[in-house]
Symmetry: C7
Subunit: 97 residues, 7 copies
Amino acid sequence: MANIKPLQDRVLVKRIEVEEKTESGIIIPDTAREKSQEGEVIAVGPGKVLENGTKIELTVKPGDRILFSKYAGTEVKIDGEEYLIMREDDILGIIQK
Amino acid sequence: MANIKPLQDRVLVKRIEVEEKTESGIIIPDTAREKSQEGEVIAVGPGKVLENGTKIELTVKPGDRILFSKYAGTEVKIDGEEYLIMREDDILGIIQK
Amino acid sequence: MANIKPLQDRVLVKRIEVEEKTESGIIIPDTAREKSQEGEVIAVGPGKVLENGTKIELTVKPGDRILFSKYAGTEVKIDGEEYLIMREDDILGIIQK
Amino acid sequence: MANIKPLQDRVLVKRIEVEEKTESGIIIPDTAREKSQEGEVIAVGPGKVLENGTKIELTVKPGDRILFSKYAGTEVKIDGEEYLIMREDDILGIIQK
Amino acid sequence: MANIKPLQDRVLVKRIEVEEKTESGIIIPDTAREKSQEGEVIAVGPGKVLENGTKIELTVKPGDRILFSKYAGTEVKIDGEEYLIMREDDILGIIQK
Amino acid sequence: MANIKPLQDRVLVKRIEVEEKTESGIIIPDTAREKSQEGEVIAVGPGKVLENGTKIELTVKPGDRILFSKYAGTEVKIDGEEYLIMREDDILGIIQK
Amino acid sequence: MANIKPLQDRVLVKRIEVEEKTESGIIIPDTAREKSQEGEVIAVGPGKVLENGTKIELTVKPGDRILFSKYAGTEVKIDGEEYLIMREDDILGIIQK
C-alpha cells in the first residue's frame, strides 16, 4: 500500500474503474472510455489553514468512496501503482453504501 | 435514488426537462433544444466555511425546485441516471409553488 | 407574475423596452436597437454574506425602476415571459420618479 | 436634470467637453479628438461596504469637477442626455478652483 | 501649477526628462529614447483604506524625486502641461539627495 | 552541500532520479523520461505570514523524502549542482519510510 | 553608490555576474549566457502592510547575497550603473557564506 502522507488539504485517491456498458449492454474498452470519476480515499492531509490561522480538518476519511471532478488532481506512480493526489475541494461528494 | 452526500456548498440536482413549444406551438425535439435550466434538489452539502472559520448553511433544501445558470455544475452518472452536482452559488432562485 | 425567490444578492428584473427615436425622430425597430438597460425589480434575494459572516441586505426593492449594465444577468423564461436574474452589483442606479 | 440615485460606490458624471487646440492653435473637431476625461459630479452613491461590514462614504460630492481614467464607467442616456456612471475608484482626482 | 487633488492612494507626478547619452556620449533624441522613469511628486492623495477600514497614509510627499515603473499611471494634460497620475504602488523608490 | 537559506515558505529540494523501467523491464534513458517528481528536502524557509500577521511554520523538514507537482519550483545551480526551490504549496506529500 | 530608498517591500539589488563555464570548461560569453540570478542587496524598503494594517519588516538586509527568480524586478539605471528593484517575494533565498 502506498506510504504517502498528503500535505495540507490534499487527499490520496485510488481510482476505481467502473465497468461501463453502453445502453445496449456492450462493455466499453478502457481506452475509448472516459476515465472513471470514482475512487477510494487512501490517505488524507492534516487540513487547510484559513487566512486567520484557523485550521479546518478534512471531511473525507480513508476508506470513503468518492466522486470527483473530471480533471481533478495529479497522477502519481508509487511502487508501480497509479494514484491521484487531489485537493478536497475537487471532491464532489461521498458515495454512501 | 442516488446515494451521494455532496461536500461543502455543493448541491445534487436532477435536471427537469421542460416541454418546450415554439411560438407556433411546435414541440422542440430534445437535441435541437437548449438544456433546461430547471431542476429538483436531491441532496445538499453541509455548507461553506468562510475565511474566518464561520460555517454558512445552504439556503436550498431537498425537494426544492430551482433555476440555475446555463453551464452550472458537473454532469455525473449514478446507477445509470444523469445528475448534476453544482455549487449553491450557481443557483439563481427557488421556483415557488 | 413570475414566482421566483432569487438567492443571495440576486435580483429578478423585468426589462422595460424604451421607445427609441433617432435624432430626427424615427423610431428604431426592435432588432436594430440595442437592448434597453432599464427595468423594473420584481423580486430580491435575502442579501449577501461577507467573508466575516455579516449579512448585507439589498438596497433595491420590488417596484423600483432601475438602470443596469449592458451585459448584466442571465435571461430566463418563466411561464413564457422573459426575465433577467442579475447580481445587485450589476445595477448602476435607481431611477427616481 | 437626470434623476438617478447611483448605487454603492458609483458616481453619476456629466462629461465636460474641453475646447482643444493643437500646439499651433487649431481647434480639434469633436470626432478626431479623444473623449475628454473631465466631468462634473451630478450624484453620488451611499458608499462602499468593506469585507468586514464597515461602510466607507465617497470622497467626491455633487458639483465637484473631476478627472477620470480614459475608459471609466458606462455610458447611459437619460431623457436624451448622455451621462457616465462610474466607480469612484476610476476617478483620478478633483480639479480645485 | 496644476491644481489637482489626487484621490485615495494616487500621486500626481511631473516626469523629469533625464539627458541621456549613449556610451560614446551621443545625446539620444527625445523620440528615440524610452520615456524617463524619473519624476517629481506634485500632489498626493489622502491614502488607502484597507479591507478592515484602517487608513494608511502615503509615504511619498510633494517635492520628492522618485523612480517609477515603466508603464506607471495615466497621462493627463492640465493647462497644456503633461502630468502622470499613478498609484503609490507603482513607485519603486525615492531618490535621496 | 548547498548553503542557501530559503525565504518565507520556500523549500530547497534535491531531485532524486528514480530508475524507471517500462512494463517489460527496459530502463528508460534520462532524456526520453519525464523528470522525476521525487526529491529530498535540503533546507526550509521560516514559514508563511498570513494576512492577519500570524506566522505558519512549514510541515516538511530537512531530510524528508517528498513528492511534488510536475512543474514545481525554479531550477537553480549552486556550486555546479542542480537544485529546485519551490513553495511548500507545490509539495503533494511526504513519502514515509 | 546608488542613493535610492526603495518603497514598501521592495529591494534594490546589484546583479552579480557569475563566471560560467560549460561542462568542458569553456567560459560562456555574456550575451549567449542567461542573466545571472545572483545579486547583492544594496537597500531595502520599510516593509509590507497587511490587509489588517500590521506592518511586516523585510527579512533580507543590505549586504546579503541572494538568489532571485529569473524575471524578477525592474531594471533601472542610476548614475550610469544598472540595478534591479524587486519585491522581496521574488527573492528565493539568501546565500550563506
